[in-house]
Amino acid sequence: MMLSVEHLNAFYGGSQALREVSLAVGAGEVLCLFGRNGAGKSTTLKAVMGLVQAGGSVRLAGRELSALAAHEVARLGIGYVPQGRRLFAELTVAENLEIGLMARRAPGRSSPDSAQIKADVLALFPPLAPRLGQPSGTLSGGEQQMLAMARALCLEPSVLLLDEPTEGLMPSMIATIREVITELRARGVAILLVEQRVEAVLPVADRVAFIENGRIREVVGVEQLRAAPQLWQRYVGVGAED
């Protein structure tokens, strides 16, 4: 497995946000993590990145990451698209991409062709190309999400962590994001995708994990899931009250 997470436990002060979370994502696979607000989805991604302290094990292609600082995790090739995008709003589009490219130039990885990477990334998100000199805070919501993904892709990640990339976006934009995910999957990136909008991403998912109160309750293939729609109701609450 490209990314494997075992027995993660994380705490905020005295309250436990993750309980024995275990997940694995293979190269070219999309694993969707679903759950209600506050279930621990974002915390799982932050724990993988090393942004929150967590007990347990995180491995990237077999290499143990749990003792590393966040910046070291990123340099090994884990791309992170945080919830709410968290662009460097004062920095221009080009500068945001440059931050990603700098992480790619880390020692220990093959030396990159930055211009080529940037061109490839912009080819995935054509609307960004004419906006390179613009402060990223002035982009539209959809463009900001594209930039957040583009910034992460600049470090040519072997694992991509996406935290609610469709949050607040129009349907046409969601379709664009979905296409990019499909393309990345085809390129062999291991993708851990956090979502609340089931219908938006189900078409690109290979497997689905449900998290509740910081605990992984169920991991099923997409086919199985289609046959058992009551799982949605139980863990995400779609259907009756929505």
């Binding site: 340099r75 460097f88 440059e98 992480a103």
Partner: protein, 293 residues
């Protein structure tokens, strides 16, 4: 009586004040902006720069310019090293928590001040100006050294602007300032950035001190004034805004020079303090507010 020469002289004095204040305040502003650390010991880095300049100059035989040039390079480097040690040994261990670092830098203030007292003694120490060249204006001659102070400060600030705005190092600093966690998630070693910024911030104060010490003398208690004025300037300019800091430093330094020449230095300090109070009441975020997460 002709008024113009007085005004001109007062402007020159104001310019010198503003130049030194710019350097000192930009150091404080940089540290606050990037690290969110209120460095109460900042004035002591200024004092340390001046005292070390005296010490280095007194060790150097020959023309005063040699001693001064040596001090201009070595004193800021030594001050930077002290700041680096303070970062590693104190601030980093406190995880840069804002409240904790205020208390810790108050402690650092006294440690540096008393160490300077014990090592260099309580006397004010003069440092000879590197040269006695006077620039002749129509009405009076003016210290060439003071004009050098202004030029050197401008050069340092210009270089700082270039690094921050145009280089990768500056990009890393700006990203860290804006959002430390996201910076970490993109491969930026935030603790290393902090260490560098804290050292550079202290070095700004030290450079300012070395530049003015030939006209002010070095003394172990001299850190208080630059600390207060820097705080005033940083608050007026907008916390963490370098541009605002420079504008406010010029404003305060200049008005301080003018009022000091025409009225009294005490009145000048009162005016600056009043200005801070007004800014805090009417525009609490300062003249140039900056955004961050």
């Amino acid at each position: 009586m002709n008024f113009a020469p007085f005004l001109f002289l007062a402007s020159l004095e104001g310019l010198v004040q503003a130049a030194v204040l710019c350097l000192t305040a930009v150091g404080l502003s940089l540290v606050f902006g990037v690290m969110r650390v209120v460095n109460v010991a900042h004035g002591e880095f200024f004092m340390l720069g001046a005292v070390l300049a005296w010490w280095l100059a007194s060790l150097t035989p020959g023309h005063a310019a040699f001693g001064f040039a040596l001090a201009l390079v070595i004193a800021p480097a030594l001050v930077g090293a002290v700041a680096l040690a303070a970062d590693r040994l104190i601030l980093k261990r406190l995880d840069y928590r804002p409240e904790a670092t205020i208390v810790a830098t108050i402690g650092l203030l006294y440690v540096i001040q008393q160490t300077a007292l014990l090592t260099f003694g309580p006397d004010a120490r003069p440092v000879e100006a590197p040269f006695y060249f006077r620039v002749q204006f129509p009405w009076f001659g003016y210290s060439g050294h003071k004009l050098l102070v202004v030029a050197a400060a401008a050069a340092v600030l210009l270089a700082a602007w270039y690094v921050i705005a145009k280089t990768r190092i500056g990009l890393v600093m700006r990203a860290t300032r804006f959002d430390r966690d996201t910076a970490r998630a993109f491969g930026i070693n935030v603790h290393r950035v902090y260490a560098a910024v804290f050292a550079v911030g202290a070095m700004f104060a030290a450079v300012g001190a070395v530049l003015v010490v030939p006209v002010r003398q070095a003394h172990y208690l001299m850190g208080l004034d630059p600390l207060l004025l820097s705080f005033i300037v940083v608050i007026i300019g907008g916390l963490g805004s370098i541009r605002g800091t420079v504008v406010a430093a010029i404003l305060i330094g200049f008005s301080d020079g003018l009022i000091s020449v025409f009225f009294s230095p005490t009145l000048a300090k009162m005016a600056s303090t009043l200005l801070v109070a007004l800014v805090l009441v009417f525009k609490p975020q300062g003249l140039f507010a900056v955004q961050s997460r």
